[in-house]
Symmetry: C2
Subunit: 512 residues, 2 copies
């Protein structure tokens, strides 16, 4: 009898909780729409009024996220954890985590952070323009200080960097990252040196040309639709920076961008965003999941794994080149008559020297990330001083990538992230690449016809496999490693990624 | 000393009030953006998730609009009315009015109204499809009942119809409407009969043709920009139903629609929406006004006066035809070579028989409105029974317009308004037409070169005059009549409208 009463009360509390969480989800969706509209549709004159709208909505969201009743329900449900099924348990786990993080930060600190977001960005823009790190340094120091305070407020027992990392890659720790990145660095630095010293770069000069923007947009639209982007539940527009946003899995809005002189960049960008969009559109819309935290993207790393899966593992593979080449020729009849092998090789040339992260290829990119990770971790744990960042940056560039920037604008001032106080964000890019690789290698075993299907433009079996094992699982698992274990049988294994790179590029660069 | 303390406390209360009102304005702006997006951009699959978003935002808005602290501040400021300047007084007046209306309706009644909005619409669609009024009658009866209850909750001392009317045309009463509409009917019924019996309709057959939709869109875009639509503070898109929405005076979004077989409809529609948009974009963005109720549109009638001002008073005038004709020929080189006088005459042909309100011209339109006003007023004050609506409708059609519909689908079921419970909305269409006419006649006196300027495509002096006297005044005046008095020296005078129609159509129809 007492147990039945307890269960009834738990079930009532869970219903109340989901009501509140679904309201929050709807308001978050509105916030997503405002963001998309601002970048794609909003007239310039509305910058000020949109700021007031975003601020009003942020206030509403803050009040609802830190609502004491919500806290009470979570308290009650955590105490009754034994009565919850795995989906309910994931809902309570993630809602509690968010509630703790939202309520832990004192108002005064939140206000300092908000102010710093504006001030530090302005300072970074000016410092980069003059390539003068000292102008940005005081703001970077403030970001280090407030981030340490924020981390201490949330969880004084954990390493500060781990607490920050948890915002972007939940369940990941710096100890685990150290292990992963040390192994990647150990494999990648010699591979890169070998490719540069002994390899013969494929010919990509023939890809140069002038490609009409409208034709590129039509080609990329056809590619996105072929991969499975669903325009009944989304939109495809052109914007200054390509991104995927929207308000809900039934309203996913991806954008693309094209340059006349570069066919590959527009194509890989469109395929990348399609990967993000398929993850969003593939979410579970069943009654138990819809609008709840369990149905959110698991992490930034997992989101990035889906974009990089399609961009790199599929889109930059030879089977894909076989399917893509006739399509390119259909849209650009004057496109050179070369083989799919030539097209594949040309798309995969390693950029050298690799100074700028956003222009890097899949071999050099992880080294850019490892360098940033080591520096930002050192800043937070106190082993690196702000003033030493440029020297350390340049030394690591030489050690890992064999080249150093001529100035800080092309060096430690190149990325916006630190100016926005984002510490723990960079690692997710490379975690995404490694997750993607391990998932792809496993998918090849599960779908023995995969490469033939890709070459024939039949992406449905692969998309459905991803949908079943990853998209629909949302945040059911507590970490990227846990999801990887559920999908592939193993936590993230950097050696899978290293083996893939070595094998692919040894062939492409004709290493003996 | 006591007075100074009182003033300080009033000024503090006013600041608190405006903080709350500006937050509400920002959230209302978001609501406007959601509405625009739904009609212009949203993918079909997102209908359900958008519903949840709108409902969550509506809940937030309701809580903030009925917030007890807001009520307390308004109470305090009404008591200190003597210390407020005219702008502040208008803010407190309109905010109090909204607060009273929002808080008066009991929750149970609000829920019945929300349910009826869905049920009655579904019933109306089905009834109209079958042309079977009896299927809609029970829902119309429920709307009459709940609207009377709503009116009694808001102000039991005032006639129920006046309380409802106040939602759309504040400061207007049924006594005043009786007076206005009786005069219009008395003048218009014989004028229409005379034009039909003795007039020679101008030739408009030569306007028939096939006009490419893209070219119409380009032409109308050029017209909207020439009239002064500002794309730095707005957007112009194509949608299924033309409308003007957006989120703020700096973010005004108008849409147009075109039919291949009808050049005039697309043009007048685009000019109509431009008029609405200019009113919105022209609002006062000074510190004292911005984001406050004093800066809202005064009423639906005044909003409609601005669209009809440009559509009819300017857009369907002979000087405008002189400017427009070469522009039409530029976009459509095969357009017949006729005079501006012929073009003007062809655009102004009276539709006959006039059965459908939305297809009516400026002579017959007011009679459609008067008929609806008389019926809906009778329903609310109990002098007309729901079951008698079709008979009364058809009789009034014969009496006022000389024709009766063959069935209810083309008769009393033609409009969506009553299915949505909108009683008091119809009159604003014709009030708008009359306001527009009186403003135009006055503007001609104030701007002696007006017609030459219009013929030359110089719309700036007129737009600036409207901006100064109407757009920037927002809701400073308590009613349409008060604004008309401030602008033209007189409250609304239906005889000005009647004289305009008689003079214009006597010439067009060659009455002796």
């Amino acid at each position: 009898m007492a147990a039945a009463v307890a269960e009834a009360s738990t079930s009532k509390a869970y219903d109340e909780l989901t009501g509140k969480l679904r309201e929050l989800d709807a308001l978050n969706g509105i916030s997503g729409l405002l963001g998309w509209d601002e970048l794609v549709m909003m007239p310039e004159g509305a910058v000020g009024s949109r700021g007031a709208q975003k601020s009003a909505l942020a206030g509403v969201l803050y009040d609802k996220r830190t609502d004491k009743q919500l806290g009470g329900l979570l308290q009650q449900l955590k105490a009754a954890a034994g009565e919850l099924d795995p989906v309910q348990a994931a809902v309570v786990r993630d809602a509690s985590r968010s509630y703790t993080r939202e309520t832990a930060v004192p108002k005064e600190l939140a206000q300092r952070i908000a102010k710093l977001e504006t001030d530090a960005y302005v300072a970074w823009v000016a410092a980069r323009k003059e390539s003068n790190f000292s102008k940005f340094a005081p703001f970077l120091q403030q970001w280090v200080d407030v981030n340490k305070q924020k981390a201490a407020a949330i969880d004084p027992a954990a390493p500060a960097y781990d607490v920050l990392l948890d915002d972007y890659e939940k369940g990941m720790t710096s100890a685990r990252l150290d292990e992963i990145f040390a192994e990647v660095r150990k494999g990648l630095v010699p591979l890169l040196a070998e490719l540069r010293e002994k390899g013969s770069p494929p010919d990509d000069a023939w890809l140069a040309g002038s490609y009409s923007l409208d034709t590129q947009a039509a080609l990329c639209r056809e590619v996105a639709l072929a991969l499975g982007f669903d325009t009944n539940n989304g939109r495809l527009d052109v914007s200054v920076h390509p991104f995927t946003g929207g308000s809900h899995p039934t309203d996913v809005r991806m954008t693309t961008r094209f340059k006349e002189g570069d066919l590959t960049e527009g194509l890989t960008g469109a395929i990348h965003e399609t990967g993000h969009a398929l993850y969003e559109q593939g979410r579970n819309l069943g009654k138990e999941w819809e609008g709840l935290p369990v149905n959110s993207a698991l992490s930034m790393g997992i989101h990035e794994s889906q974009s990089l899966f399609w961009e790199r593992m599929v889109g930059l593979s030879q089977p894909f080149a076989e399917w893509l080449l006739p399509l390119v020729s259909k849209h650009f009849p004057e496109f050179p008559k070369r083989s799919a092998a030539d097209f594949y090789a040309a798309e995969n040339v390693i950029k050298s020297p690799s100074l700028i992260r956003v222009e890097a290829d899949e071999v050099t990119y992880p080294l850019h990330i490892i360098l940033r990770y080591e520096i930002e971790r050192g800043l937070i744990d106190g082993t690196i001083k702000v003033e030493d960042v440029p020297t350390i940056w340049n030394q690591k560039m030489k050690d890992y990538l064999g080249t150093a920037p001529e100035d800080d604008a092309k060096g430690c001032l190149q990325d916006v992230h630190w100016s926005a106080g984002l510490f723990g964000y960079f690692p997710t890019y490379s975690l995404g690449a490694m997750y993607a690789c391990q998932i792809y290698e496993h998918a090849k075993q599960q779908l023995p016809e995969l490469e033939q299907q890709v070459a024939a433009g039949n992406f449905t079996p692969l998309r459905e496999w991803l949908n079943e094992h990853i998209h629909r699982k949302g945040s059911l698992h507590p970490s990227g490693d846990a999801l990887m274990t559920a999908v592939t049988g193993n936590a993230l294994q950097p050696q899978v990624f290293l083996a893939y790179l070595r094998s692919k590029y040894s062939k492409l660069y004709k290493l003996s």
